[in-house]
């Protein structure tokens, strides 16, 4: 067997051609359409949009098709596209209070104004394979009753009324101990390099883009004692919110469209000092589409990362800002781990040269000893 040293160019072309063929699969089966992916693999599309930081179901579906269903590869495609887009202006903060609700639950109260709305959830399904789907027999589904859910008051606002919980964000200058001041212009880590210590706006952005699996594991670790913060799922809501912009020349806000989001308000362990009454603290999660697992994990990690600001001891990975923020992005991590596939001949050769020399010296010493 002779080892080829050359031929990178041709090898790449061949690999790409083969990839196209493999991605297509059996050509006797009809090709998957982007619309089918968008409509029928919606949760995958939502994850790609969330971590790809771009709300575009069509392009996310295209990315999934192109990536053979690999979420991280699809996220990569979307991010690399997003980075080239011009930024016209920033939207106004979305008003999730005025969400057109599809699902809304609270684990803190049995019932509350607006009610518990289960929505389309996998939560109480029995995880039994449905073989009728295998036979591709569409079951006639009963359409859900269309009782429109009115604007739901926010669960955490009930606590606010009694001062039982810290306020979420406050305008600059209205600072309240334990709360975070709202920055004038939120930081953007896709434009400016991440700088430590990071404020909460930056942390939330990093978490929103962060890998669901990584955040889930960190969130889980806080529940198992590595930075415990006693969470209650105060409210999870999912539905459509309007995105508004206020162009300067217009002087008022206009709605440019609706996006679907999942939001999680976590109620966490209370704090108090000699001079201040104890109150609950918060963790917050927000993700595009129906991404409940992500929103929950994000809220738990957000709360854990507030350790510094709340004067807690930083003892666990989930509380460690540098550890979490530097490692939560799956394009950073998958890129750098996979770069091990690139040639390292030169570095390896350098190590070989040294290792051979060290072994030779070792043998010489052994021989000298026995001589």
């Amino acid at each position: 067997m002779y080892v080829a040293v050359k031929g990178g160019e041709k090898a790449i072309d061949n690999a790409h051609n083969w990839l196209d063929e493999t991605r297509r699969g059996d050509p006797s089966l009809p090709e998957l359409t982007v619309a089918q992916i968008r409509e029928q693999l919606g949760l995958a599309v939502d994850r790609v949009m969330t971590e790809g930081s771009l709300y575009d179901p069509e392009l996310a579906a295209l990315a999934l098709k192109q990536a053979s269903g690999d979420a991280i590869e699809a996220i990569f495609l979307l991010r690399a596209y997003r980075t080239t887009l011009p930024r016209f202006l920033s939207s106004l903060p979305v008003e999730t209070d005025r969400m057109a609700i599809r699902r809304r639950i609270s684990a803190a109260y049995k019932d509350l104004p607006g009610g518990q709305v289960l929505g389309p959830t996998y939560d109480y399904t029995h995880r039994l394979l449905d073989f009728t789907l295998l036979a591709e027999n569409e079951r006639a589904s009963t359409p859900p009753s269309e009782d429109a859910v009115e604007d739901c008051p926010r669960v955490l606002d009930f606590l606010n009324q009694e001062g039982l919980i810290e306020r979420a964000f406050m305008k600059v200058g209205q600072g309240q101990p334990g709360g975070s001041a709202e920055p004038e212009t939120p930081a953007d880590l896709t434009r400016e390099p991440l700088d430590y210590p990071a404020d909460r706006d930056l942390r939330l952005q990093a978490l929103a883009r962060g890998d669901e699996g990584f955040l889930l594991a960190l969130a889980y670790s806080t529940q198992r004692g590595y930075g415990r913060n006693h969470p209650f799922a105060g409210e999870i809501r999912q539905g459509d919110v309007a995105v508004e912009i206020a162009p300067e020349e217009l002087g008022f806000a206009v709605v440019i469209g609706d996006i679907e989001v999942t939001e999680c308000d976590m109620i966490n362990q209370f704090i108090g000092t000699a001079s201040e009454a104890p109150r609950f603290t918060r963790g917050y999660g927000l993700a595009f589409g129906n991404s409940e697992r992500k929103a929950l994990a994000m809220a738990l990690v957000d709360r854990a990362l507030r350790a510094r600001e709340l004067g807690e001891d930083i003892m666990s990975p989930a509380q460690d800002e540098e550890f979490v923020l530097a490692h939560c992005d799956n394009l950073d991590s998958s890129g750098f781990v996979s770069h091990l596939k690139l040639p390292h001949y030169v570095d390896f050769q350098s190590e070989l040269v040294l290792l051979r020399r060290l072994r030779k010296e070792f043998e010489e010493r052994q021989e000298a000893k026995h001589a």
Binding site: M1, Y2, V3, V5, K6, G7, G8, E9, A11, I12, F76, R79, A80, R82, T83, T84, P86, T190, R191, E192, P193, L194, D195, Y196, P197, E322, A326, L331, D332, S334, G335, F336, V337, S338, H339, L342, P343, H344, Y345, V346, D347, Q349, S350, E351, L352, V353, L354, R357, L358, E361
Partner: protein
Amino acid sequence: MTNATLTQTPEARTDNTGYNFAYLDEQTKRMIRRCLLKAVAVPGYQVPFGGREMPLPYGWGTGGMQVTATVIGRDDVLKVIDQGADDTTNAVSIRRFFARTAGIATTESTREASVIQTRHRIPETPLSEGQILVYQVPIPDPLRFIEPRETETRKMHALQEYGVMHVKLYEDIARFGHIATTYAYPVKVNGHYVMDPSPIPKFDNPKMHGSPALQLFGAGREKRVYAIPPFTRVESLDFEDHPFEIQGWDQTCEFCGSDHSFLDEVVINDEGGRIFICSDTDYCNQRLDTGARQEAV
């Protein structure tokens, strides 16, 4: 063995790719240029920059690509090497990227290139004034493996608190009898900052010192750029009784017979037979063209 040729790819003009010249938009390039100017002004200092997502994975040269995209112009001639070679897959991929998005001329010749992007090597052919060498950097901070926290290492650099690095090198000597760092060997730039030269073999470290070329370093994932301006003092860290030394080989290049270039080891058969060849393919070809030994295997 192909001769170094200037290749223009007319079918890949930027006009029909839908992207700006060299992919990045001009605002981004301006931001990166400002950071590069700062980097040149403070040699060896890691300047944070607003690194963008590139259409290649992090860890595969996105930092180098952003620097190249920023400094390259229509008249530039680009050479891209990985492990010293022009035909390694990632070098091919990056060279194609710029041929496609910038429509610029590319070359395999070190002498003809005005911009050279590299991973893991410095060309054997000495660089000259006006050339720019762009390094791809995975982990820009030489202190990272001693202190993983950015907040700490920034302070250490500011205070020139580099004792730990010497301790690390000393521990190598105590354990192995040699400094066991063979690549990414730390250097001190212009008498101040200790800098990671990227994972080039320490064999290449002396080439950085006083080089007439501008050396720029880009770390995309870590969002840092740094630089060594032309004719800058670059010293590899060492001890008086353990001076810095570079690796050498008992063998010579199988193709060109070179006894002074960095050699790659190639396993040629199932019995573990080996040959040694120049890692710098252009240098090897040059020597062959000028009549060096040519008893190819």
